[in-house]
Symmetry: C2
């Protein structure tokens, strides 16, 4: 009866009390609130939204529905977490994790698998021979405590209410509700109890949210949720109108991350990691300035400390650390197919979701344990937005590993070629970092990194 | 997958195709479409509505989900059906059924039990000793064919999709959606296959729809659905700002219906029955005019033919026909409590839903078979809107039968007293028949019946 009242209230634009929200989600997690009532409620939320206060309570109630890392687990050290809303070629965690750990911040991160056309950190890490991501909460805490960095797959009892609710949202066409997206992400972040949180909200054609206004709204919701729960939180709004860096695919992205940890790799990826890291350090220590932190982190890349930390992390989770010295130990392509341009001009756009979908197609299917069938599969981009292209010049290379079932079909080559828009006018690359959202509001940035060089 | 697409489509204001609607409801009736997806869809319908075309298809698809009376079952006679959207003291069917049957029209009607604060024809009929409403479809047709009138409770397989959907709407706060109300009512009417249909859409404080605009919209939806399915349909929009007639309660309403069939009773109830009946006859025979039909039907009341038909109907369904001559054979009150006014003045309003709720409270609870526990219980109104009241004068009498569990509590007396609004200014009674809706549109009526006399 009381659930029907809550649905009625949201339906006509009312607000739910703290007590109602907590009893709703407790009941839902326990199976006492039936799926059909929750479905009606979230559809009403899709139409009428949730107030900021409701969103915060909704998130807290979800976070309380399952396991959590005890707050203060890493004291006296600062701990940090990061989250990306998902993109194509987004290997930031693979760089930022070791970089922050090398700077003395503890990162105990739970990640997910790929979803739709966007990649997942867990799939990327599992391409490293021997590395295990199946850690209990205790193992995650202990491994992160010992070397500063651990990454595990989300445990089954991490925010079970969110896991149920996500399945329901998927079946009821209510995935695209900003307060529900915010509470889904932030409930998992709150349960992980890091002191600080850096959110990377992607915007553009290849992102969950193509529109900047939606990205800003989501970012500011999440920043407010985090800070109101005592987790110092900032968000960067960053470009996903083209893949990040020059590789898409699990082992390929690990290779690019290692390049970046060596102080090489695409300047775009390097800049983003240093920018995000500089704000994490500023959150950890009020006395530091992002600009100074940026320079210090850059020296951890050039000095090799970050790469050493990555190597230590791999070994700590059972993987083969030699891959950081010799990336040919990672799964390698058996077949490589070139995608060449049929036009000359300037790359004026890349349909990022198409590139992501093609990369998923190349490594398509998971085995019985849910692992990616072909970790070597993926796409290497030779051209990005603003690059000049000659007729018949290489745009991208498609990779297929030895574990794949079939050869790369010609349609896929055409699909990747068609994802490149070649125009006659020269344009500038898209601005990588669009805005920074803190508890004081939003700052629109003038991106000083326009270097778009690949590899 | 396809269901999610339909939800998405309705969510963003799109329209479902005929094929989608039929496959949705077929699947739902069979249990292949899960409740949570239907819940999300109907909440999207609550927000975005259904187009007239969608509403018609939705209704047809529901009507096809279960049993139906074969069309033409009563040829060469005309058959008629009526439906009220529900009110307090609405015993129209008990008068109109025998009246139409006496005029040569076949009425084979399926009715429901009381819902919320509104009464149900089935509960009223079951107060007649011996009378059975549990008829199969075949029995309903055969009994109506033999004497012109039969009334049964909705069979279990009458529009099972609607029965499932109504339960779901009740649990998800989506009862108040006009297209869903229209399709719920009309699917059952279409399944009963009468040639003609008269809808009585109640409007006012005691009605499902308090606002005239909503009542008009619902009426015109239902008239269009009926006519588009080949059922000649009209709707009257009638007042429910006070109870209809002067009795509320099952046996009490049967008594008042018998009074009206004798040509006596409240002029309000008599006028409404004659008005509705006159339009049924006009629908059955294009060559007749409602005004002439009204006079002919009035003579069937004064001549006793309508009462004789009621008697025949009761006997045909196993009841004791002597009640039409001696209403003391109906369940009688054991306790009667007077509700007297504490003010003097003019009755300027009656909170009808409160009167309805008090009457339900008096006969509260059903036994294991779903029957009302106290059929004698109810309220007799001594005053109605526009009546003058002296201090300490009788407003109403509460009745409790011998089968009730407990004596009438004093709070209930206060509740009924408080439902009467006594003012200083004289006012006119509310207009009983507000509008008539036909396939040609809506006609607003000037009510010529302002006689408000009770009993």
């Amino acid at each position: 009866m009381r659930i029907t009242e809550m649905i009625q209230s949201k339906k006509v634009g009312g607000q739910l009390s703290e007590e109602q929200i907590h009893s709703l989600l407790r009941g839902y997690a326990r199976g006492c609130v039936p799926e059909h009532q929750m479905a009606a409620l979230i559809m009403a939320v899709w139409f009428n939204g949730l107030s900021r206060r409701e969103t915060i309570e909704f998130t807290r109630a979800m976070a309380e529905s399952g396991d959590s890392i005890p707050p203060g687990s890493f004291l006296p050290c600062s701990s940090a977490d990061k989250h990306s809303t998902g993109g194509v070629g987004d290997k930031t965690t693979l760089v930022l994790g070791p970089l922050l750990a090398a700077a003395g911040v503890i990162v105990a991160k739970m990640s997910g698998r790929s979803l739709g056309h966007t990649g997942g950190t867990i799939d990327k890490l599992e391409s490293i021979p021997g590395l295990s991501v199946h850690l209990s909460l205790e193992e995650l805490v202990s491994k992160a405590g010992s070397i500063g960095l651990a990454v595990g797959i989300q445990t089954e009892n991490l925010v079970p209410a969110d896991q149920k609710l996500y399945t329901l949202r998927d079946a009821t066409a209510t995935v695209d509700s900003l307060p529900l997206i915010a509470s889904s992400i932030m409930s998992k972040k709150l349960a992980c109890s890091a002191d600080t949180l850096l959110l990377d909200v992607k915007v553009g054609e290849g992102a969950l949210l193509p529109e900047i206004a939606d990205a800003q709204e989501l970012a500011s919701m999440m920043v407010e949720i985090g800070n109101s729960a005592g987790q110092r939180t900032r968000a960067a709004i960053t470009d996903m109108n083209q893949p990040l860096g020059c590789t898409i695919g699990n082992a390929l992205e690990v290779t690019e991350a290692i390049d970046t940890l060596r102080g090489r790799g695409s300047s775009q990826l390097r800049h983003l990691c240093l920018f995000l890291g500089s704000h994490v350090l500023a959150l950890c220590d009020d006395d530091t300035e992002p600009e100074e932190n940026y320079r210090n982190l850059a020296s951890l890349l050039s000095g090799g400390e970050a790469l050493d930390k990555f190597s230590e992390f791999i070994e700590n989770q059972g993987g083969d650390p030699r891959i950081t010295e010799d990336t040919s130990l990672l799964p390698q392509a058996e077949e490589m197919v070139e995608v060449r341009s049929r036009k000359c001009g300037c790359v004026c756009g890349i349909r990022t979701s198409e590139i992501g979908a093609a990369a998923q197609k190349l490594s398509a299917g998971r085995d019985a344990s849910g692992q990616v069938r072909d970790p070597a599969a993926g796409i290497v981009l030779q051209k990005k937005i603003a690059d000049e292209v000659q007729c018949n010049e290489l745009l991208a290379t498609l990779h297929r590993g030895s574990t794949a079932d079939a050869r790369i079909p010609p349609q896929l080559i055409d699909r990747v070629r068609s994802a490149f828009c070649i125009g006659e006018t020269r344009i500038l690359p898209p601005q990588l970092i669009r805005a920074l959202v803190t508890d004081e509001g939003i700052t629109h940035l003038k991106d000083h990194c326009v270097d778009n060089s690949v590899g």
